[in-house]
């Protein structure tokens, strides 16, 4: 039986059988679902509790500006000094007392309350009063038809974003959703590489400090041991994501049918094909709702995104995991690993920031170079793909990534072979390079 297969099998089963893995795998989708649904649910609850605000307007000019909404109801009163309003048992949230013409006397208004005034209420009151004062002041200038002029000035421009090609096929697009989709994939790659790459390092270090590896090298080649570990651990990750995807789908489906929340089922179903992506997309769908979002989601290049995601995912993981394996084999203790981890984390965080920066200008020089550079391309390219990237760039970037990944595996295997059996002293970078030639 192939020995590497045996190693893969062990690395996989040992991890999948762990209690912590099972618990995390089952709980995570519920936590994610809760992150989506609890805010929506809370928002629906808030609708029911409308608070009463008493309004005393000595001038009579401003009361009309206050409109009841789902949070506050404004009730005109005659006497703001009535102590009943300020008792702790009072049903009145606050009392707005307008004592003077605010165009002349700026501090002629006060909000009284028996508790702290809500920031939302304060800013609403300020907005209403400022608007009225502005109108009053403009009217005082005596220009004819000023009201009409103001109406004209108010109009808002609405920009439609449509993606079209040379043949004239047009698609409604939504920049926010494209960004969200790209970022979800980017974060998935980032998280996966960090957590499972770290797991590879842990596991290599465990075998080294355990000295079990002295036993192993007499039966398997160090390369088989390393690759078996890298592949086995990645399978654990794939399985976890598969379970999460399926569970999230089921939870979303059940939640939609049972609670009938505003999340558009068809939209979240469409988002489903993007793995974990459904979460944020469902939020987008839930908040704006409607066909526009649905059209924008279905307008995304899902096949291209899925394919690229898989390729970048595997390439990025191989690149980093093999590096982590080499680090794990070189160090003797957990603490020593940090000096080698530091540059890796810096590069990955740089990649993440480059990805965020690339969102502003998805075809700019930063986005272009960062998505070709193999250490950052898996992270940055995924942000760009929803915005259409030329095929040659994708191919070049992938070719560079895979070439570097193979080189990294080759170099790491050589470092691993020597490092895993070296005890007692902390290796320097120079020594690690020497091991590659050994």
């Amino acid at each position: 039986m192939n020995k590497m297969l045996l190693i893969i099998q062990r690395e996989f089963t040992v991890r999948v059988k762990k209690k912590s893995f099972i618990i995390l795998t089952i709980l995570m989708p519920f936590i994610l679902a809760a992150l989506v649904f609890v805010p929506i649910w809370l928002a629906t609850i808030e609708d029911d509790t409308q608070k009463t605000v008493a309004l005393y307007d000595a001038t009579g000019r401003y009361a009309a500006g206050f409109k009841d909404d789902h949070t506050y109801r404004f009730v005109p009163i005659a006497d703001p000094e009535n102590p009943a309003y300020y008792a702790d048992s009072s049903q009145v949230e606050a009392v707005i007392a307008i004592n003077a013409d605010l165009a002349r006397q700026r501090d002629g208004v006060t909000i009284f309350s028996h508790k702290e005034v809500a920031a939302g209420l304060l800013s609403y009151v300020e907005n209403v009063l400022n608007e009225q004062v502005r109108r009053d002041k403009l009217a005082a200038t005596g220009i004819n038809g000023i009201e009409q002029i103001l109406e004209d000035v108010q109009s808002e421009v609405k920009v439609n974003t449509v993606k079209r090609n040379a043949e004239g096929d047009a698609q409604s697009s939504n920049t926010d959703i494209a960004i969200a989709a790209g970022f979800i994939f980017t974060f998935m790659i980032y998280m996966f590489v960090m957590s499972y790459g770290g797991m590879v390092m842990q596991s290599v270090m465990e075998e080294k400090t355990n000295r079990i590896v002295e036993l192993m090298v007499s039966s398997v080649k160090p390369f088989q041991l390393m690759m078996g570990k890298i592949i086995g651990i990645s399978l654990v990750g794939f399985m976890q994501m598969l379970i999460w995807g399926i569970m999230l789908f089921a939870i979303m489906f059940v939640a939609n049918t049972v609670f009938g929340l505003s999340a558009d089922t068809s939209a979240s179903t469409a988002a489903m094909s993007g793995g974990m992506g459904q979460v944020d997309m469902a939020v987008a769908a839930a908040s704006s709702g409607g066909n526009e979002v649905y059209a924008a989601i279905s307008g995304l290049p899902f096949l291209e995104m899925g394919l690229c995601f898989a390729l970048y995912f595997v390439g990025g993981y191989l690149l980093y995991a093999s590096f982590f394996a080499a680090v794990g084999a070189s160090v003797n203790e957990q603490e020593d690993s940090s000096q080698f981890m530091m540059p890796v984390i810096l590069i990955m965080v740089f990649g993440l920031y480059a990805a965020m920066g690339s969102v502003e200008n998805t075809n700019g020089p930063l986005a272009f170079w960062a998505s070709l550079f193999p250490l950052t391309s898996p992270i940055v390219m995924m942000v760009r793909i929803p915005f259409s990237v030329p095929l040659w760039e994708e191919l070049l970037s992938l070719a560079l990534l895979y070439a570097t990944a193979l080189l990294s595996i080759w170099g790491s295997a050589r470092i691993y072979r020597v490092g895993i059996l070296m005890y007692g002293k902390k290796p320097t970078l120079k020594e690690m390079l020497r091991w590659m030639r050994y």
């Binding site: 020995k3 040992v14 355990n210 002295e214 007499s218 059996l421």
Partner: protein, 311 residues
Amino acid sequence: MQDFFLSAQHIVKRYEQHTALNDVSIHVPRGKVFGLLGPNGAGKTTLIRIINRITAPDSGEVTFDGHAFTADDVMKIGYLPEERGLYKKMKVGEQAIYLAQLKGLSRQEAKRRIEYWFNKFGIMPWWNKKLEELSKGMQQKVQFIITVLHEPPLLIFDEPFSGFDPVNAEMLKREILALRDKGHTVIFSTHNMASVEEVCDEIALINHSEVVLEGKVSEVKNRFRSGLYEVVTTDGSLQAPEDAAFTIEGHLHTANLHTFTLRKAEQLSNADFFARVAALTDPRSICEKMPSMQEIFLQVVTPQNASAHHE
């Protein structure tokens, strides 16, 4: 010409600060137990690691089973490292099967053999326990079983008795001899000199990175014969003869017995010596005081190390 299963010739291994092995050669005869002895830090473990291909020598070569050592040969070695290591969180039985499979056994065969050994060592009830739940001695047993399971022609035990109680150490000793009798070649590294006398056929003593003593245990002991004899008699009047056939080195009187320590003249044979003693007194027993391996070890290593410290 003796049949050597493994020879290491002129092995040199240097580290930055010191030389671990300086022109070391050992010859391990086929089907024998070969003791690799030496004080701490002498270079034994380095030599074993070279034989296991864990590290490469700077110069020198190893011949394995009649041919130059290749990477595939490590498959024919069972190695019990001094610092034991297994997966702590893995169940014992599963772990043994996994490691046996990596050694090339089929799953069924591995399971069959492991059950045989587990029963023999009385650890079958721990099959489904994690390794970390086992006592040190039991972990050692598991490790020993894993080492011998695939029945490799060469077995290397580095300090196999550490952590064992006398009963289990005795059992392990018997198992090692049984393996030798089945034709396995064994390299056995230890500080425990008593076990060397009981188990080893040949030895090499390494001190300060060099082989300072080697050969069959019986020959080595012969070389270190002190020429001292112990004569027990009821008669306390024994005197050294005038022709100096022997001299009296000590005289111990307990109850009715007198124990004399005699030094024999070198040219005299044992038979003549015994006859001379018997003529002078009525001995209860005469026996040559053979040096123990412990004494030989100390005799060889102590002065060398003392001089090394004075340098």
